[in-house]
């Protein structure tokens, strides 16, 4: 059986907001819907990402209420993207290399989904062959 690719395991449901959306609205979305992040999209192109971390570090810790800022003000950019056809080891390597937990999944440059650490974590036992012999580390790319 062929190894799964990013496009098969990522979430096709994600929330995006325009850069002008107020942070208080973005924060409500994240808090009320249990979403880890929101993409900031301008004319169909993902230009940034707002995560829980962004809200804590760039809004609350700096004394803002969220009323006076927009998503465009605080978004982290550039956004990290990965093509839907990429392999999961490649995605994990990218996350590890950049220490980020959320990747925008694109198809020919168009945003189609969200791949988070959660999606990969679910598959980790299969990816490393949990029934393999103890002590054998599975290197990304070997799956």
């Amino acid at each position: 059986m062929a190894a799964p690719v990013v496009g098969e395991v990522c979430s096709r449901r994600y929330v995006s907001v325009p850069p002008r959306r107020r942070v208080v609205e973005v924060a409500r979305m994240i808090a009320e819907r249990w979403m880890p992040c929101v993409f900031v999209v301008e004319e169909g192109v993902p230009v940034g990402i707002v995560t829980k971390r962004t809200l804590i570090e760039d809004v609350l810790a700096r004394g803002y209420t969220g009323m006076e800022l927009t998503a465009g003000d605080i978004m982290r950019a550039p956004i990290r993207t990965i093509e839907a056809g990429a392999g999961l080891p490649e995605a994990a390597a990218l996350m590890a290399h950049t220490s980020i937990r959320y990747l925008a999944v694109t198809e020919e440059g168009r945003l189609v989904g969200l791949l988070s650490d959660l999606h990969l974590a679910r598959l980790l036992p299969a990816l490393i062959g949990a029934d393999a012999e103890p002590g054998s580390a599975a290197r990304p790319g070997s799956v």
Partner: protein, 649 residues
């Protein structure tokens, strides 16, 4: 081209004059004769025939294909002139005399034909209504029904009065620019009714970067009553040249052609005139030779695509609408500036003129004070125009210069609750907008700089003392607030312990700075031991719907293992089936049980962690954000009251 007779040829011609049939021409035709004879309208040698007229109107070219956009016709009005014209035959010579009876030029008769004024007006101006277009009005007033075509020779150059000092023929500009100054590339600029402003200056300076010199050709044959007098416009240009431009690189020569307001076609005519004066480049702005909003703003630039490159003998340089961008403190066209209209002062010649008419100097950012001063003295009382309208509405003046005023309380300021329509604006609003621009236009960029300097400069000696003092006071105040925290949360050793969930402890009122974070913690989290397999922790996380599990030893939280850490370990190739929790776990910071939400937020941000431990209970980033943004805190009252716009998700 030089068709000005001198010496013996002129004497012989003057002798012939009294015996020739004579046509009395007006001063405008007299000037046109001079322009033809001195080569300003080259390659024309005289007024056009009927066939040439039609070809020009239909194709923008003479019958032989030479580009020429506007027909030059001699159709002097008056009964006596009509009688003379009817008696002329091909090959005759006719004397053109001025109102004093003096012979101005001799014209050889190639053709006398009936001029279809209405067709000409419709083709040239898009309307046959005199009241609808100044060019049509002028034509009906000046032209009779019979026109005369043929080459002419000039006997006497009319006096230029106040503009004599600025009179230069194409031959003279060539000699000055190329022989005397040794230039090789010169840009021409034809300017019309309004005093020079920063938009013009922007174009001139761009051109001065590209070429050796700029030739300013102000049209001085203006007849609309609302304009600044030509004498003062030319003085204003002279001031600009002398005070703000490099010596000898900007040349001023009056252009005595009639302003037709023929929009795009006139833009091409002006380019050809500039070429004839020796220019290699023509500066063409937006709405060149337009009147009101009759023509599309950029039609005067698009028309040049109808001619092959090089065909006109001059290279046009196009400019879009130029405004003053206050954050950049520079003039800029739309395509180079990211800032919106709230930060702009628009550079409208009409708006500047109307501000002058009301007795104010326009904002210094869009019109030099030296120029404004001269232009103010040349303001012509407006009275009533052909349509019976009085003064230009003050709201339109504000709209043309201060577009932010209708939507924002001040330049770069907050938006008004609603848009104020320009029709509702009064003289008081103009005063307010002018005062606002004087006070704030040059503060925007300075303010941005001051904020950055105050925030990032480590050596404060350059900063204003009052700003430093204000910041010191602010810092003292913040420090004082922090100092109060130990009173609420006395320092001491924190006992690690187990606290059962107590839902009833949720506070209903309070603020980020008063509500204790512990009231929002949980003891309901996945627990693992250091020796457990990491993959087992993953399974517990999934079951507990958390992205972390607490590492618990003897009942105490000693660390945390995060789902992301396992993924990262896999990404680095370090995750094995037998990887233990201890290999991927990290320490979990704890915080005092009296800590407030504000403390926890700063703590998490400073340490870059997603969870904190408070008395063996856990507060994670999701719980924190939910507590704040789902209106559980009293400080969230404003969030509760804030209703996002419909369809915001």
């Amino acid at each position: 081209m030089d068709r000005v007779l001198v010496g013996e040829a002129r004497a012989a011609a003057l002798e012939r004059c009294p015996g020739l049939p004579a046509l009395m021409i007006d001063s405008e035709a007299e000037i046109t004769c001079e322009m033809i004879a001195t080569g300003v309208f080259s390659p024309l040698t005289g007024f056009l025939t009927k066939e040439e007229n039609e070809s020009v109107l239909q194709t923008g070219r003479l019958p032989d294909g030479t580009p020429w956009p506007i027909p030059l016709s001699l159709a002097p009005a008056g009964r006596r002139n009509a009688e003379v014209l009817r008696g002329l035959r091909e090959g005759d010579e006719v004397a053109l005399i001025d109102r004093r009876g003096e012979c101005v030029a001799l014209q050889r008769v190639n053709q006398v034909y009936t001029l279809d004024r209405e067709a000409r007006a419709r083709s040239l101006f898009g309307t046959g209504e005199p009241a609808a277009h100044p060019g049509v009005e002028s034509m009906y007033r000046r032209f009779g029904s019979l026109a005369l075509a043929g080459p002419l020779e000039l006997l006497r150059r009319p006096g230029w009065g106040a503009f004599e000092a600025y009179r230069m023929t194409p031959r003279e500009t060539y000699e000055y620019l190329y022989d005397r100054q040794g230039y090789s590339r010169v840009a021409g600029f034809v300017t019309g009714a309004n005093p020079p402003h920063m938009g013009h200056e922007h174009m001139h300076r761009v051109a001065l970067e590209l070429v050796d010199a700029v030739l300013l050709l102000p049209q001085v044959e203006m007849e609309r009553p609302e304009y600044i007098e030509a004498t003062h416009r030319i003085l204003a240009l002279e001031t600009l040249r002398d005070v703000y431009y490099p010596p000898n690189r900007v040349v001023l020569a009056a252009l005595r052609t009639n302003y037709l307001f023929a929009g795009p076609r006139e833009a091409v005519l002006h380019a050809l005139i500039m070429r004839n004066y020796g220019c290699t480049h023509a500066l063409i702005g937006r709405d060149h030779a337009g009147v009101g909003d009759r023509y599309d703003m950029y039609a005067g630039q698009r028309i040049f695509t109808e001619y092959e490159p090089g065909e006109l003998g001059i290279e046009p340089l196009f400019f879009s609408e130029i405004f003053l961008c206050t954050p950049r403190r520079a003039t800029a066209p739309e395509r180079t500036c990211p800032h919106d209209a709230r930060y702009r002062l628009m550079i409208s010649g009409t708006g500047i003129r109307e501000v002058l008419r009301r007795g104010y100097l326009p904002p210094k950012e869009i019109c030099r004070p030296e120029v404004g001063h001269v232009a103010l003295r040349g303001v012509v009382p407006k009275g009533v125009d052909a349509a019976g309208r009085g003064v230009y509405p003050v709201g339109q003046t504000i709209h043309s210069l201060f577009p932010h005023y209708e939507v924002a309380v001040r330049l770069g300021g907050h938006l008004r609750p609603g848009v104020v329509p320009w029709q509702a604006l009064t003289d008081r609003d103009l005063e307010a907008a002018l005062l606002d621009s004087r006070t704030h236009a040059d503060e925007v960029y300075a303010g941005v700089f001051a904020e950055f300097a105050a925030a990032v400069e480590t050596d404060r000696r350059l900063a204003e003392r009052w700003r430093v003092e204000a910041r010191e006071i602010l810092a003292d105040q913040r420090h004082a607030e922090t100092e109060k925290l130990p009173e609420r949360a006395p320092e001491g050793e924190i006992e690690a312990g187990w606290v059962e969930p107590s839902p009833g402890r949720r506070a209903g009122e309070g603020s980020m700075r008063t509500i204790r974070a512990i009231d929002f913690t949980t003891a309901d989290y996945p627990r693992v031991a250091s020796d457990d397999p990491a993959l087992e922790a993953l399974a517990l996380m999934a079951a507990g719907e958390r992205d972390y599990a607490m590492v618990v030893e003897q009942g105490d939280i000693v660390g945390v293992v995060e789902q992301a850490a396992l993924v990262f370990a896999y990404g680095r190739g370090e995750l094995r089936p037998d990887t233990r929790v201890a290999e991927v776990a990290r320490d979990l910071p704890w915080i005092d049980p009296e800590a407030t939400f504000d403390d926890v937020v700063r703590f998490m941000a400073a340490l870059g962690v997603f969870q904190v431990c408070i008395e063996n209970r856990v507060l994670d980033d999701f719980m924190l954000l939910r507590a704040i943004w789902t209106a559980q805190l009293a400080t969230a009252r404003e969030f509760r009251e804030y209703e996002p716009p419909v369809g915001s998700v």
